[in-house]
Amino acid sequence: MLTTTVQGRTWNFSHAIGHLSISAEGFLFPYSVVTTDSGFMYVLSRAPDPKEDDGNKRSQPNFKRIGKWKLEDEYISDFAQNDIIWPVSLAVDEKGFLYCTDEIKNMILKYNSEDQKVFEWGVEGSAEGQFSKPAGIASDLAGHLYVVDAGNHRIQKFTSDGHFIHCWGEFGSERGQFNDPWGITVDSQGFVYVADWGNDRVQKFTGDGEWLQIFGVSSPDALRLNHPSDVAVDSEGDVYVADWGNKKVQIFDSDGEILTSLHGDATEFSRSALNFLEVNQDYYKAFKRAKDKSRLGVFARPTSISVTKDDRIIICDATRQRLQVYDKEKGYMDPEYNL
């Protein structure tokens, strides 16, 4: 099913982007995607850890990178290969600076729009401004940065040049507590949503950390979130949760009621995958010969979601090495049956 309609809202599957590739027009475990208002998209390839060739055995080069794309599926460049070890998440601020968290370096790296690193900060620890496995990162309209400090089970708020403002949260499963949280987003009103990964829920806060709401725990068992990795909000307030453990995306209304789930619809190849197959006919033949193609389009492990200002929803389908893109149709009305 390529169109999902529920309660006056419709999501149309648009296309897939990328394929398994060590460079350029593809990804290697795309872990985070973020879009800019100027029509660009950054995609973080987490990639396997490198192994230098010591002359004995196979080597494994470093394929970790941030890819810069135009939103219309046009690859531009890769960068940051030598800066990152275990990168987790990307964010773009209102001035166009890009931020990347690294959970091994315990740092935040800041890049300008020319892909040059301009600043980095962070040390390991649990004091204010220090990190333990920083994960999700998001920027609000005022330029503040919110960093998920996963290992310390808290959220830290910074200025865009890394000055600590305040933090909230601790380990636990009560309201306002966290268990190894992962993704984060800030909506247009400045509310903060956190994917509380280890507690199987999403929590909503004010920008100052005041607890507001929980998503996902009151759902029927079959729809309970399972280790959500990321969250995003569209222009109408609908909330998208990457339900990583259940390999789907769940959509909630702003009251926390489940609207529907997306399971992935990329049954057609992406442009870059088609280009690959065109020059690698053996793979195309192998694909044609394959018996069971039923799971070709479904999400294998959605890790990150980005929503553009015109409500295009871009989902990192990490283990399938691609992005899946949906468009939300606004003001949709079901036609009368007797038309």
Partner: protein, 467 residues
């Protein structure tokens, strides 16, 4: 603390029936007592395993590895982090017996699925295991059963099923191999999606009835219209079968036997023990768990400490678990997966269907240097949690310590490891170069370094190569 005989025995149990342990883990098992420790190992499902979600969150490449190295990394992570040591050890046992290699299969996910099957069925019923093995896509491709057709039988799987997986050389004829192979025609793996452009999808068994030979076969004296399952049932009736598996169990858990190809000419080191295990297999209708229970509670097992050469995996994983290094997600795990290969045991890629040659064949001049360097480097690193804890225990309750006591206490916490008098004297001679060590606040750091050197020296001894 005083090291009791039972404590030493449980340490032996965790090395053989598990993959070694940290000292804390050893103490936990020791508190249970020996027989209860055996039961805990035999019932892995009652112990929650490590957090798999945490693992693949931080190592996403393990969730669908596109190459050998991420696949090996996933397997290695299981070995290092398992809370179900015997389940993992039995998976390694079957990986050794039913050796399947990435070098041909070229698909880490299928190899890892086979390992999952070994974890699930490894202590279950041998008949079930053989049927699942015959239907395992990695095995089917590894031994060419996808090329085994009604009108053109391929004997590779049929031969190895008899020679290496169940009976051993000398217990069947060439005609039996041919007839066995005919019974497995049509047992194949479906055409699956290629690795590009979106990564691997699971590979599934497929039975193609149009390619199966339904005509009569004569196999090991039986005649009928046999299919694969019938063949396995006939194999299980053979006297050679329980003896063959029993000898594998003895070789893996008790004492180094001659290499498998020599088993038809070299008798077992302990024929009574092998016969005892074989009888148990028959009595239990080929259930593996009851046999393991008797094996671990037997005198011949309890008396076998430090009489087997540790395989590279046992040496590396045992040392890392003792030092508590690379436990949990860590980018260095990817680097460490090379170590077993350097010492002759590349995970998921054995040299042939015969598996690895074991015992003294693990040791050669190149491998020995790698083995000694690895364990001494690890145990001399005072920053590692397990090394720190050992040193803390060595120092406990003493303001100063003579070289003799330092050596004795380090040996206690490294196993306990019994060493020959000559080895002990060499260790003491080294310790005497520094004289007494003090454990007060001012001298602790310096003494800890000296103790770590002693741990590294102990890890470098001949005795530590055995387990």
């Amino acid at each position: 603390m005083t090291i009791t005989a039972e404590f030493s025995l449980i340490s032996h149990l965790l090395r053989r029936a598990g993959l070694g342990s940290s000292y804390d883990e050893l103490q936990e098992y020791a508190e249970l007592g020996y027989e209860a420790a055996v039961e805990k190992l035999l019932n892995p499902k009652s112990n929650p395993n490590f957090d798999y979600y945490e693992f693949i969150r931080r190592h996403p490449q393990a969730d669908g590895p596109p190459g050998l190295l991420p696949g090996q990394m996933k397997y290695f992570y299981f070995l290092l982090n398992t809370k179900r040591p015997l389940e993992e050890k039995m998976a390694l046992f079957w990986h050794q017996v039913f050796a399947t290699g990435y070098s041909k299969v070229n698909d880490p996910e299928s190899m890892l699925s086979q390992m999952d099957m070994f974890r699930e069925e490894g202590m279950g019923n041998y008949r079930t295991l053989l049927i699942k093995l015959a239907q395992d896509p990695a095995m089917i491709f590894w031994l060419d059963n996808n090329e085994n057709h009604k009108n053109a039988p391929n004997e590779n799987w049929g031969r190895e099923l008899l020679e290496l997986f169940s009976l051993g050389v000398g217990n069947y004829t060439e005609e039996d191999v041919y007839e066995c192979s005919r019974a497995f025609t049509g047992w194949t793996a479906e055409a699956r999606m290629p690795v590009f452009p979106y990564g691997r999808h699971p590979w599934k068994f497929e039975f193609r009835s149009e390619d199966h030979d339904y005509s009569e076969k004569t196999f090991l004296g039986h005649t009928g219209n046999f299919d694969g399952e019938d063949i396995i049932d006939i194999i299980l009736e053979q006297e050679a079968c329980p003896r063959f598996i029993a000898r594998h169990l003895y070789n893996f858990f008790v004492e180094d036997e001659p290499q498998v190809p020599a088993w038809n000419i070299e008798p077992p080191n302990n024929p009574e023990a092998v016969e005892y295990l074989a009888d148990l297999l028959v009595e239990s209708n080929y259930e593996i768990k009851p046999v393991l229970r008797e094996l671990f509670n037997s005198d011949f097992f309890k008396e076998s400490a430090y009489k087997r050469v540790r395989s590279p995996i046992e040496l590396i994983v045992g040392t890392l678990r003792l030092a508590e290094d690379l436990i949990g997600p860590d980018p260095r795990v990817q680097e460490a997966v090379y170590q077993p290969g350097f010492m002759g045991q590349e995970l998921m890629d054995p040299p042939s269907v015969e598996g690895w040659h074991t015992g003294k064949e693990w040791i050669n001049s190149g491998a020995l240097v790698k083995r000694v360097n690895f364990v001494s480097d690890t145990m001399s690193d005072v920053t590692l949690p397990g090394v720190k804890k050992i040193i803390g225990r060595v120092a406990e309750g003493s303001a100063t310590m003579s070289p003799e006591v330092l050596v004795e206490r380090c040996l206690e916490f490294m196993g306990p490891l019994p060493v020959k008098d000559k080895t002990r004297q060499e260790l003491i001679d080294h310790a005497m170069e520094h004289g007494e060590v003090g454990w007060d606040e001012d001298s602790y750091e310096d003494s800890a370094e000296k103790a770590a050197v002693m741990l590294a020296l102990i890890a470098s001894t001949r005795e530590y190569q055995f387990g």
